[in-house]
Symmetry: C5
Subunit: 363 residues, 5 copies
């Protein structure tokens, strides 16, 4: 039982945030994650319709200089524990301190905030790690004019597909602006949710098999853990549909009207994800119900065995007890065939009980 | 137990979509269904008030040429696995790549999108196949000026009634525009949902009978499967009422004001379907509750038999045990009628217990 | 158990509609009810402030001629299976084919549709028939200028009160227009729902008594049936409040502003009905819960009897068994008062057990 | 069990209304309550900033004459069964017949209706009577210019506090208009709900104690009754917050803008009441859950006693049975210490079982 | 069991308010809390960008004089039982009597009311006291021009962080107006909720461990208490998100547009808190479910032990009983190896049963 996952994961460790920030003002950049002391790695992919350029500048000033000529800059920052470095990037791009706080607050709920010259979004990238655990990684996106900033906590990369589309010039991404890149990144985050749904689906199938085959308490425990995972995912995924809806309705100049039909597509997918999570919720409740009903059934069977054994042999033992009595005057004991008659009676009783229980469909 | 339907069906295999599309841009036409390598079949029904014409062009260019003279063209495309063919049709009618993606994405949630020169809708056609399984087939409709495109994955045809109305000139369909045809198709999809409701209704009646007659674990399992089927249907049917409502409120020029009162009729039916599904949900929960209560009841009966048998015979056996003891000095053993007195006591006890249990209404 | 009501009633037999209408256009007048081949009976009550006139014209043309002089005509058509006749009436009053379809579709959900020159409404009249069954009868009302058409499927008449008010000149009905008549009819339909609530109330009281007195499986079954009846009534009654609300908000010229305060009164009553149905729902769930808890309790009692009997007599039987052994060397057997000592021990044990169980409050 | 409260109380006896009013027009004044044949008593309290005057006119005409000089008249009518008298008052103040109907309809749901020259409200005054029963008394308030009419069914008076404030000149009531009096009355009705909450709270505390101490079926029954009481109160109290909200949003000239901030205060309290009732609902469900879990627990204990007794003594009895057999050749019987060895074996078994059950923590 | 926390805490003691205020007008300042007869302590912190000044005036007049020169005054009043003193402060700052009533009403639901020259808010500060009890302390905030009044019931201070930021000049607080101070206070109240979430989280983890290890009735009781705590917290925390939303939407001149993005940050946190509470609710329900399932499981095990023991030994005892009978003619008794054969049969039966139960996986 020691292998049970802790439920603490469901609730973001905000209190530690509170502890860390005690006495600090809102807008203070305080890294909340578990990967401390990692240097941030910056990768820049500049592209326009004619070509692309990859670079990995070592310092913040170098980041800026690339911004000039190309149409779109995709700036990827991996590792958020170097607070000073992140702060410098924020300054460089004129980001609000509250935005910077949210970028490094790995417990931040999914959100989209519109500021005058940029749009800021926080999402959870869901994936299953090598230990078959569900991870919800913090991702922050900033859409600027001709530029998208991507802040990631860990190396895990869900954006390979988008990068390939840029470098190999699949689809229309090279000929579009930064809002399309923003969409493409959001789209691949949401698409990734389906992999997690598949993982849940597999889990439910396994548990369903187990509930029918052997409703042990371990199965019940796993069903409860499944419920908790569904709760966690819902917490991360549920706000997304509303956020995207807001992006579709916005009149922020950075999001072109042509791009909005693509956001409608992402909205569709996130609705799909929400429907599925809702269904998983109901299915995990059904599983528990089925577990309880199978448990009852097993109990019923146990009771039947007991009842049949007791009902058959207790009366027979009674009869044997009668003729084990030591009264001086028990005429049956002296009959020639008394013993055989008693056997006959016992066997008849035995068969009668069998017939009775058979009729009741207990055996 | 091997015959249990897999629950995987409830969740569309979007992850495979994800797998298939990895590295592809949104708007890429990727067939998601299970009927691979089938040539698409095109049927065209052109009609106006004066007559109608049926044709089955072999290539995409042939499709176009029919569009001129008649009032309305109903173009039926069956089989969606030939992605190149579908793409050509899309180009021919100027459809957006995202629309084309949704046309072949057989896992697409029901939706209606309005574009400038056309209205695009995806629905699920529900029916019961030969193996008594519930199938939700992907249908895509495109309403253009004077033309309706229908994309179907399988041959199963729910539109025979509409086709007959056109060819046999029942009702007003021949004298109306393409919006009326669009309505008629939508109407027959929704009408078909009632057949599925009937199927659910029959299932519930059978299960209800079974729950009362013999609450075996198989029945519980079937109730759970019913619940899952209701979940699946709800997922497919629930969005429809909202979509139709949006069609009624739209000011898209392709939908004439006169046609909208017909859409109100479809809306009515889809509300009806939603009410019914809600009721089925509650009834399947009631069934499970009834199952549990009947199980409890059976357990109660088993326990009663055990208790009655044990309560009657254990004391009697004790009495027999008493007089089976071998003490030297047990005066009762030597009484002339000791044995008969003991029998008398036992029979009195036996009858007393019977009366007691009868009073408690246990027998 | 054969007397159980079929649940099929909950779900309107729309599929048969579908079957009947296959190949027919929407707007086709197809009677959906069970009372086939009945001639429609028409009754007309014309009235104004000064007097009233009753007539029963045999054909449709006769219906019209009465329309001239009086202020308001109340035209009652009972029996909807004569489709041709109904169609003629529809034509005579210029009703839309979709309206005519709904008039004879006895499975139609409650609705109100406003058309330019008339308002059309479908409702369910609920009553308890002679077999103590709950009937939801289809009623269609059409409010025209100076005229109200009432289409009823069966003879059962809920409108006697309204008719009396007209003929005996109670209240203000004679001095008001057709909108007031429309209101009065609607009001008596909704008022009648209270009689059904009373019927449910009585049922719940009886079941509650039964749950406490004797929680047999039949009671559980009746509770489930009650739940289904509540579901059915909710389906018929729930939409009404919204429909009336729409009538209050409408600016249709046929409904005078002075009449709207009366509709507010009906709205009040329908809210009341909805509240009550909601409460009945929760009470029927409570009943089932109570049933389960009483079942558990009965089981507890059965188990206690078993446990007490077994716990008392099994140890005693063991003691008797000891002294029934045939060892050569068992000194106790030869003690003068061994037998009596054993009896003493047994009686002490017996009393000790009684005290123990009494302390545990099991007896 | 005969003392159980009838559930009929939850559902207002509207059907009897229906019975009484059959054939009467809406707007007919028909008293619905249980206190028939009581003469209405009228008390008038006229006041302005300078003084107040109390009078108890015997007839309706006398009521009117007092209206002239003072700023505000508070007219209290207790007893609603004298329909003719009530009707005359209605006429005197120009009230709509529908209003008059609602004034005497003691089953009326809480409501507020605005008419041109007055505002009409119906509420439930909740209190606990001498028999510790929850009573929901019908109160109707009419706010006129410079006058508030209060119609009460019974003598129970919740308005003493308000009356004292007027006569003893506490607070600002004497210097304000009739809208402030209307507010003050409403406020004391809502404040009184808290006393009922206290009563529920006490009930829950007692039941909670009982559930832990002795989960008898009577406790379950009382929990169910509590649930029903909560349902009843919710029915009476729930609409109030919406009604007050409507008063705050109204632009009716009788309610001054300065008075509205006081209505916001009442709104606050009614939200509070609603929150509490919601919590009581959940707590009564928790109680039932706890009851079920305690029942299970008791059953578990019963089963453990049975299992321990049977598991210990049945094997021992078997051993005794062995050596009670009468085979000629049973060498053990003839051993010198056979009997003692058997005792040793039995005692070892007995102790072994004790250890086993102790380890399982069953004893 | 005497240590159980009383549930009375969930429901604010409003009835006592009612009792206390009987005969008093709304707007009367009546302290509702439990800390009677405590002198109010006033602390003033005046600050602007250049410096700050701390003072603790002894009387109300002294409070005012500090208001002149500095930019922002933060006036802290701890202890609300001195009603006259509080009233004087209210007068001094021109607060509405209803506001003053709410300031001392420690049962007031969270609220925000906008008045012309100030904004008034009531919140609950949640913390865990030394006895590990959850306390919801009443806090009232008044935002005036250049001044924020803070009314606290107890000494517990959640605002140390904010005070430090002012005095040590962390962040931007010193350079901003009173609206920013108001935000900062609100922010630290909401941040504190996370500490309470942590407390709940720990409780759930402990209970979860306990449910799996030893599902005793005490655990069930603790789960129910957890549920009640969650209900209480929800009651206090739930309204906050709506209130903050209202502050964001307001156009009250005291809240500058620049400050609103900070309120959006608090909103974010309160949404987070609401999500978490919702999850805790579902988790506590899951815990109870798990508890019930584990109880069932334990019962199953008990029954299995009983059934195995009884099923094995009752038939064996029967056999022994047979050969304990005293018939004259029982040939088996005289067989040389009869006794050994019987032993053989018994052992075979015993082993057979073991195999049978092993196959059923009961042992």
């Amino acid at each position: 039982m020691g292998k049970r996952k802790k439920i603490g994961k469901i609730i973001p460790k905000m209190p530690s945030r509170f502890a860390k920030q005690k006495g600090k003002a809102p807008g203070t950049i305080t890294y909340m994650g578990r990967r401390e002391n990692l240097k941030s790695i910056v990768n820049i992919l500049d592209y326009n319709e004619n070509g692309f350029n990859v670079s990995a500048p070592g310092n913040v000033d170098a980041i800026v200089s690339h911004k000039g000529p190309p149409l779109v800059s995709w700036i990827d920052i991996v590792g958020l524990s170097d607070e000073a470095f992140i702060a410098k990037i924020g300054e460089r791009f004129g980001l609000n301190p509250l935005v910077m706080e949210d970028i490094v607050n790995t417990n931040q709920r999914p959100k989209i905030d519109e500021y005058d010259p940029y749009i800021f979004g926080v999402f959870k990238m869901l994936y299953i790690n090598q230990d078959k655990e569900l991870i919800g990684e913090h991702i922050a996106l900033v859409l600027l004019d001709n530029c998208v900033l991507v802040f990631q906590e860990l190396e895990y990369d869900v954006f390979t597909g988008v990068r390939d589309r840029v470098t190999k010039k699949f689809g229309r991404i090279r000929s579009r602006g930064s809002d399309y890149l923003f969409f493409a990144l959001l789209d691949s985050i949401v698409d990734n949710y389906f992999a997690v749904l598949e993982y849940l689906n597999d889990k439910i199938e396994v548990l369903e098999e187990a509930v029918y085959a052997d409703p042990s308490p371990e199965v019940a425990q796993k069903i409860q853990e499944l419920k908790k995972e569904v709760l966690r995912i819902r917490r991360w995924v549920n706000p997304v549909k509303e956020l995207i809806n807001r992006l579709i309705d916005t009149d922020h100049p950075l999001i072109a009207k042509e791009t909005k039909i693509f956001f409608r597509d992402v909205l569709d997918h996130s609705l799909e994800v929400n429907d599925s999570i809702q269904i998983y919720r109901e299915m995990s409740m059904s599983l528990m119900e089925m577990y309880m009903s199978n448990m009852s059934n097993k109990m019923n069977e146990v009771m039947k065995v007991l009842t049949i054994m007791a009902s058959i042999f207790i009366p027979l033992t009674f009869i044997a007890g009668i003729y084990g009595m030591n009264f001086d005057n028990m005429p049956e004991l002296h009959y020639q065939y008394g013993y055989y008659v008693v056997w006959g009676v016992m066997i008849s009783l035995f068969l009668g009980m069998l017939v009775y229980f058979r009729r009741k469909k207990w055996i």
